[in-house]
């Protein structure tokens, strides 16, 4: 498939408002009917440094980010310096007065002429960018009107005025930049949101009504979104004193009938490990969102990595069931989080969503979620007829009826010790075996419910790229682009548990299996080896804090094949 997209990089320092420009641009393009995919790279600081906001857009679905740049909006000189090598030959540089762009196909913006004060420079940049991308001013004007409507008519007008002028100015320039193809569709119900927002919405759609969290990049916007959008829906929330409190408070709320969520990143999750074990033994549903960044320890707070799979796989002392989902794109963030809530309640055990900074900050256009066809989520009991009520009743499938305390006279007792069916502490060996086995037997149900990996491409390819979570897009585009050999992709959006029969044929049919992961040790591939005995032939690993791109995968492929 020929590439119909263009890739726009906006670069500058923190505090220059590039995320504002970028987000508005992406939103306008979504409204114009384009498909978009955003990649944000930024430093762990509030002002200064070097950040980028990248939008890939086109009339066809955009599955992956890319390294090549079509339009570079340089808000400072460093941006041009750092990114000029990725600029396509016919690429365009848009910049202000203070930058020397000699030798480039460039558009120098006379900011002072187009705006009365620096406050509006962002809008100028947006207008010029929109114009350069051959778009119409109208969508932008509406967008700005909506954005600033709360600030009053005067502000709206001023902004609209600036954007209009900027569009007009571009038209007068001689830019040798070929226009992007027109949008093919104009789906008015298309949303633009990023991975973290989609997780939050998926949770709300599942009925999530309790959030306890401690802020940690790059997870905080899940909490932000839940609060901003959820409190009107009845969500109760609290930013707590530490991550231990976050997990334990969510467990307490869940016990008392809330649908609880906890949001964090690897370091914060490390502090929740004991609490996870408590959820396991007390059989309390809990959904934990882990948005990864590079470790160990503080690592790189605003960068990306897929380095915490092992931690999440084995978090908690002792043995108990769980399931782990790893969305490959924004849409999956929504649906998998919804599913995690359903399974958490059904199996009364912890569920995890494993995302990372890349997807967290990656805006994409998605179809409007259809709430009416979403499956109903499992509900606990508010009453029971069977007396005495046994919270930890031994059942065939290991699932005991979970009742919420406070809605009848029946007492609900939950315990962190090894306990009997009534939650009484006991050190009896036979009881221990029964209860521990009961909990673990829930795995049989969870295995039945596993979402198998998605397979893209030929059944017997020369090379099969095995990936999970957020590396989906890069693999798909690399497979699509590679010439000379057939490359297929096997993408796991549920990474635990695994159900061998769902994918072993694919692994065995491929000429070679290459694991593609955003970490240094190939954690998922090793886990597949453990579960199936199948060991991959080679690895393409990235752990420099940046997301996997098609170019990076292709380079890896070339050195392997």
């Amino acid at each position: 498939m020929s590439d119909t997209s263009i890739n726009i990089v906006i670069g500058g320092a923190a505090g220059q408002g590039l995320a504002t420009v970028g987000t508005l641009m992406a939103k306008a393009m979504t409204r114009a009917g384009y498909h978009i995919l955003v990649n944000q790279k930024y430093m762990s600081r509030v002002r200064g440094g070097h950040n980028t906001f990248t939008i890939r857009m086109g009339p066809d679905p955009v599955v992956s980010i890319t390294d090549d740049i079509d339009i570079l909006v340089a808000l400072d000189a460093e941006t041009l310096e750092l990114h000029k090598d990725d600029l396509r030959e016919d690429g365009l540089v848009i910049h202000g007065d203070d930058i020397d762009s000699a030798g480039f196909n460039a558009l120098r913006i006379p900011f002072k002429d187009l705006a009365s004060k620096p406050l509006f420079y962002n809008i100028v940049a947006l207008g010029v960018l929109g114009g350069a991308a051959c778009q119409d001013s109208a969508i932008f004007e509406t967008l700005l009107s909506e954005t600033f409507s709360k600030k009053g008519d005067a502000v709206v007008e001023a902004n609209v005025d600036v954007i209009r002028k900027s569009f007009e100015w571009v038209k007068e320039q001689k830019v040798s930049f070929s226009c992007i193809a027109s949008a093919k569709e104009s789906n008015t119900d298309r949303l633009m949101l990023n991975g973290n927002e989609a997780i939050a919405l998926g949770a709300l759609a599942a009925g999530c009504n309790f959030l306890s969290f401690y802020p940690m990049s790059p997870s905080t916007s899940v909490a932000d979104t839940l609060i901003t959008k959820g409190r009107g829906l009845g969500l109760k929330y609290e930013q707590v004193e530490d991550e231990i409190a976050a997990m334990n408070m969510a467990i307490g709320a869940s016990y008392a009938g809330a649908k609880s969520i906890v949001t964090t990143s690897g370091g914060g999750f490390a502090l929740m490990v004991e609490g996870i074990s408590l959820a396991g033994v007390s059989e309390t549903p809990i959904v934990t969102i882990i948005v990864q960044r590079p470790g160990p320890a503080t690592g790189m707070a605003t960068r990306t990595e897929q380095g915490d799979l092992n931690l999440v796989l084995y978090a908690g002392h002792g043995e108990f069931p769980r399931a782990i989902f790893a969305p490959g794109n924004v849409e999956e963030c929504f649906y998998l989080t919804h599913r995690a809530f359903d399974l958490a309640e059904e199996y009364q055990t912890p569920m995890f969503i494993l995302s990372d900074q890349f997807l967290a900050d990656s805006y994409a256009d998605v179809e409007m979620f259809d709430l009416d066809t979403l499956p109903e989520t499992t509900k606990p009991l508010l009453k029971t007829e069977s007396e005495p009520y046994k919270r930890y009743e031994l059942t065939e499938d290991g699932v005991s009826p979970r009742m919420i305390p406070g809605y009848s006279e029946t007492l609900v007792r939950a315990d962190s010790h090894e306990h009997d069916e009534m939650a009484a502490v006991t050190e009896d060996g036979a009881n221990r075996v029964l209860q521990n086995s009961k909990r673990l037997s829930k795995e049989s149900g969870l295995i039945q419910d596993v979402i198998g990996p998605d397979h893209y491409g030929e059944e017997k390819p020369d090379v099969l790229l095995m990936c999970w979570g957020t590396s989906l897009g890069a693999c798909l585009e690399a497979a699509d682009t590679y010439e000379g050999k057939s490359i297929a992709v096997l993408h796991f959006k549920q990474v635990y548990p695994l159900r061998e029969e769902q994918f072993m044929d694919y692994l065995e049919a491929a000429g070679e299996v290459v694991a593609v992961e955003g970490n240094a040790t190939g954690q998922f591939a090793k886990f597949v080896a453990q579960e199936t005995g199948f060991r991959v032939g080679s690895y393409i690993l990235r752990f420099d804090g940046r997301p996997l791109s098609p170019q990076y995968v292709l380079k890896g492929l070339n050195s392997i094949i």
Binding site: L201, G252, D415
Partner: protein, 276 residues
């Protein structure tokens, strides 16, 4: 009318003579006198001898982790404000492992009651110094004497202007019952630090030791912060029992009956629309 029998009688694993017996009995009595039935009470407990309490009475129970009874209790209350929520734990649990939650719970001021069985020792793990152990006391793991100043939860709670701060003693059960009742009745976070002799591991702060120096406060102005600080500081020759400090701070209110609450689909649709 609730009767104390509804709370049941259980075999315990406590040592004969332990102060905990009197506390669990007083708690049942207080709840009964408040006309609260077992199904109207949720108890969150940590781990330790004290934390075994909800196993020895009928009530809703979540017996969680060492040091974490407060976050669990607060989660419960946020998800079901209709319930009376009581947090049961020891001095190690509440002021040691759980110290950070103690500070946060005071600040947050959810309407829950924290009962600390303060035996000034780690009982269940067999006699190490706890945060409230007196400086210099020799134990197996503190052979040179506990090196840190003992923690006085009352001074800290009063300093932070907790809504309800009281001290009681397992050896004064009638007073203990009344104090628990006042604490449960208080709207907001209430702390009752209960002196509790550990007959097995604390040979210094014994029943006699507490009996000798504790006295029930009378004529004390619980609304006077400065006076309360002074009373809070008394823990030596004399130990005052009773409500040390009380105020009318507004309790945390971001709570709801979450088990029966579901969102309006149109509202969520509107939220989704905001991403267009």
């Amino acid at each position: 009318m609730v009767s104390i029998e509804q709370y049941g009688e259980f075999e315990t694993s406590w040592c004969p003579g332990c102060g905990n017996f009197s506390i669990v009995k007083s708690l049942k009595k207080a709840l009964t006198e408040l006309d609260l039935a077992p199904h109207e009470v949720m108890v969150s407990a940590g781990i330790g001898q004290a934390a075994k309490t909800p196993h020895y009475m009928n009530c809703h129970m979540f017996n969680g982790l060492h040091g974490r009874s407060l976050p669990v209790a607060q989660g419960m209350k946020m998800a079901n404000p209709e319930m009376t929520v009581i947090c049961e734990s020891g001095d190690g649990c509440s002021y040691g492992e759980g110290g950070n939650h103690f500070l946060a719970a005071i600040r947050r001021n959810l309407d829950i009651t924290l009962l600390v069985h303060n035996n000034q020792i780690y009982g269940l793990t067999k006699g190490q110094a706890s945060p409230t152990t007196v400086r210099g006391m020799v134990t197996k793991t503190q052979p040179d004497g506990a090196p840190s100043e003992g923690f006085n939860p009352i001074t800290v709670a009063v300093a932070m202007k907790a809504g309800f701060v009281a001290r009681a003693f397992s050896g004064e059960p009638d007073h203990l019952v009344e104090t628990i009742k006042a604490a449960v009745n208080h709207k907001g976070f209430s702390l009752v630090d209960i002196l509790q002799p550990c007959v097995s591991f604390n040979k210094v702060n014994t029943f006699a030791w507490y009996k000798e120096r504790s006295y029930i406060l009378e004529g004390h102005d619980t609304r006077d912060w400065c006076g309360a600080m002074e009373k809070a500081d008394e823990f030596d020759e004399k130990i005052p029992l009773g409500i040390i400090y009380q105020n009318g701070r507004q309790p945390f209110s971001n709570v709801g009956q979450l088990a029966t609450q579901s969102y309006n689909k149109d509202d969520l649709k509107a939220v989704l629309q905001s991403y267009r």
